[in-house]
């Protein structure tokens, strides 16, 4: 399925939590609240903002991921990124 856009994903420096860059420049844990870039120019702008946050030691290793629409919900296209966004598929009995 073709992607509908791109988002920036990273680990938060202090606790390693997976976070998404939001439109107001904050970093959020909920993929639905992150900023979705719908074209390449917007995506590069998002990435530049993320790299600034990285240089300010807010997050680690930010990068763009492709997002598709799955029945009205945002879903990373790549399997690896889907697991990063949703958490492990095992040990769901022991959520923190």
């Amino acid at each position: 399925m073709d992607p509908t856009g791109q988002m920036v994903l990273a680990n938060r420096l202090a606790d390693g939590q997976v976070v998404f860059l939001a439109t107001d420049g904050s970093w959020v844990e909920d993929i639905a609240r992150g900023a979705l870039a719908r074209d390449a120019v917007a995506a590069q702008r998002l990435l530049a903002d993320a790299q600034l946050a990285e240089s300010r030691n807010v997050v680690v290793e930010p990068y763009l991921i492709d997002i598709r629409d799955a029945a009205g919900r945002r879903q990373p296209v790549a399997f690896r990124e889907a697991i990063r966004a949703a958490g492990p598929t095992v040990r769901t009995d022991l959520e923190g």
Binding site: N11, L13, A14, D15, G16, Q17, V18, E54, R56, N57, V60, E61, V77, A78, F79, R80, I83, R84, G87, P88, T89, V90, R91, L94, E95, G96
Partner: protein, 560 residues
């Protein structure tokens, strides 16, 4: 067990204090990630898919009940109530916060544990036979030598920046339970022709993308020469190992490029230069001091209680099955070695919850003289259980789901964390292990199949030892989907061998069906008491290939 002396306490405490300062400087921005990453790795802290992961050393797999209680406390206070035992006899926490890591390290130091050199291009945790000091077939206890190597290799100034990581394993028994031949250096304690015990030295074994079984470069090495000979090996590797390509930087590549003979010549040449260096000659008194820590525990004077156990077994078939699979003969009359399976159906191999840890610690004190072991097959071991206590222990273990009678059977699976946790993985490993565990639940059928190891890795780095599983399973990624390649005929024992690839990769859903087909074919082909591995070595790949991919291949719907 070894106990820290004043020097160990000071070293570890200073290391915790240093890392606390380094974390503060990272959080304040004084250190960049590029500057900080090698520092955190030297303290066992990785950044994985979802969070930081901390790998804690369990030296040669030996733990006390007190240490296990502290591991439970850490799991509860700083993680998500569980830990994962690894193929290097270590424990990993998957949800550690960077800003809390110094506190975790301090909590570990309080019970004489640390995470030093559990990552990075240095000598890693020394591993050993999990039955060390207790096995009936043992020639000599490897633990004092493991401890000596640990002390020599920790913060060794010359070997802190090797071309790549370096793994050493030691076994003192003819039956290899420690995958010795798959290590950068493997050591077997062996007698020479005169009956004097020394070391057979094996180099260049390893798994990963380029798997090799190690080569013996010295049939027998005197014990007093151990450190100087290891120093010579490490020095030849440190100087000549490749640093241009991480995939080719392990000693196995150097040994196989030079040839074992030439590598041996280089080592011997170096060794002649350094073998009488005073700091590499360990005084006999020091060896005796270390060995004293591993003296026999306060065993009671007992007589063999096999007859009592036999009566209990005949009265209770489930107890009988557990004994057959999980209990091993002890060298001391009246005692037994007990394996605690961390492979209950549907459970992630090697995982233990904080509550289970506390219960196991309590049972360790009650039944096993306060000490337990971790095996490289991701199980726990009680080394000193009185035979007359076996039934009570079995009943207690059932209450915490640790009495699954499957040690050495095909559901006693090694699995790496895979794509559920690991940043390097291409595919998941744990769900595949869980599916196989749920597929093969008939205990009688498992025991009929007999000894059969399944090892699963989520990528070519082979942390799940897939190359040396009797059946190996390697996760690969194709067009965004997970697939699995099967190999047959691997072994990590004294008859070590690398598995042969069966054929095209299959989906996760097809794996249990394929395993079933392989097992069914094995049962049809086996002769007498042949294990799966024996049958495979006799008949080769073709019958199994036909069983899995033949005209009516077992196949379910592939899923993403």
């Amino acid at each position: 067990m070894y106990r820290y002396d004043e020097f160990d306490h000071t070293l570890v405490a200073e290391r915790v204090a240093t890392f606390r300062r380094q974390v503060a400087r990272r959080l304040s921005g004084d250190l960049s990630e590029d500057q900080f990453k090698p520092l955190r790795l030297m303290n066992g802290l990785y950044l994985q898919l979802h969070a930081y992961m901390l790998r804690v050393n369990i030296p040669y797999g030996c733990l006390s009940s007190r240490q296990l209680r502290q591991l439970a406390f850490i799991a509860r206070r700083y993680d998500r109530n569980f830990g994962h035992f690894t193929t290097r006899q270590n424990i990993q926490y998957n949800w550690i916060k960077l800003d809390e890591t110094p506190d975790v390290l301090a909590a570990l130091a309080a019970v004489e544990m640390n995470a030093m050199q559990s990552s990075g291009n240095c000598v890693r945790n020394i591993t050993a036979d999990q039955f060390a000091g207790r096995a009936q077939d043992e020639i000599e206890d490897p633990r004092p030598w493991c401890e000596l190597i640990r002390q020599w290799s920790i913060l060794h100034p010359e070997f802190s920046y090797l071309p790549r990581k370096f793994k050493i394993a030691v076994s003192g028994a003819p039956q290899d339970r420690a995958a010795v031949k798959l290590h950068d250096v493997g050591l077997y304690l062996r007698p020479n022709g005169a009956g004097v015990i020394g070391f057979e030295v094996i180099v260049g074994g390893g798994q990963g993308r380029l798997p090799y079984v190690g080569h013996t470069i010295r049939e027998w090495l005197a014990k007093e020469d151990l450190l100087s000979y290891l120093e010579a090996i490490l020095r030849i590797y440190n100087l000549g190992g490749r640093r241009d390509n991480p995939q080719k930087a392990r000693i196995k590549v150097q040994v196989n490029a030079l040839g074992a003979e030439e590598f041996r010549r280089l080592v011997d040449e170096e060794w002649e230069q350094i073998r009488f260096t005073p700091q590499l000659t360990v005084p006999r008194a020091e060896i005796e001091r270390i060995t004293a820590y591993f003296a026999d525990p306060a065993w009671e004077q007992l007589t063999d209680a096999s007859a009592t156990v036999a009566r209990q077994r005949s009265a209770d078939p489930a107890f009988d099955v557990w004994n057959r699979a999980n209990v091993v003969a002890h060298r001391r009359p009246g005692y037994a070695i007990v394996n605690l399976s961390l492979k209950a159906p549907g459970i992630a191999p090697g995982d233990l919850t904080a509550d289970q840890m506390d219960k196991v610690a309590e049972l360790t004190d009650r039944f096993s003289l306060g000490e337990l072991r971790v095996s490289h097959r991701q199980n726990l071991v009680f080394p000193d259980v009185q035979q007359v206590d076996l039934q009570a222990l079995w009943q207690a273990l059932q209450g915490v789901s640790l009495a699954t009678p499957n040690i050495g059977t095909l559901t006693d699976i090694i699995a790496c964390p895979g794509l559920d946790f690991c940043a390097l993985a291409n595919a998941r490993a744990i769900p595949v292990a869980q599916d196989i565990g749920r597929h093969f639940t008939d205990v009688a059928a498992l025991q009929d199949i007999g000894e059969l190891t399944i090892n699963i890795s989520g990528c070519m780095n082979a942390c799940g030892h897939h190359h040396v599983g009797h059946i190996g399973i390697l996760g690969v990624e194709k067009n965004g989907l997970e697939f699995y390649q099967l190999t047959l005929g691997g072994s990590s024992g004294e008859d070590a061998s690398l598995g042969d690839r069966l054929g095209r990769s299959i989906s996760a859903a097809e794996v249990p069906v394929a395993i079933e087909a392989i097992v069914t074919r094995y049962k049809a082909l086996r002769e007498g008491e042949e294990r799966f591995l024996d049958t495979y070595r006799r008949v080769g790949l073709e019958p199994f290939k036909e069983a899995v991919y033949g005209q009516n291949p077992p196949r379910r719907q592939a899923v993403a």
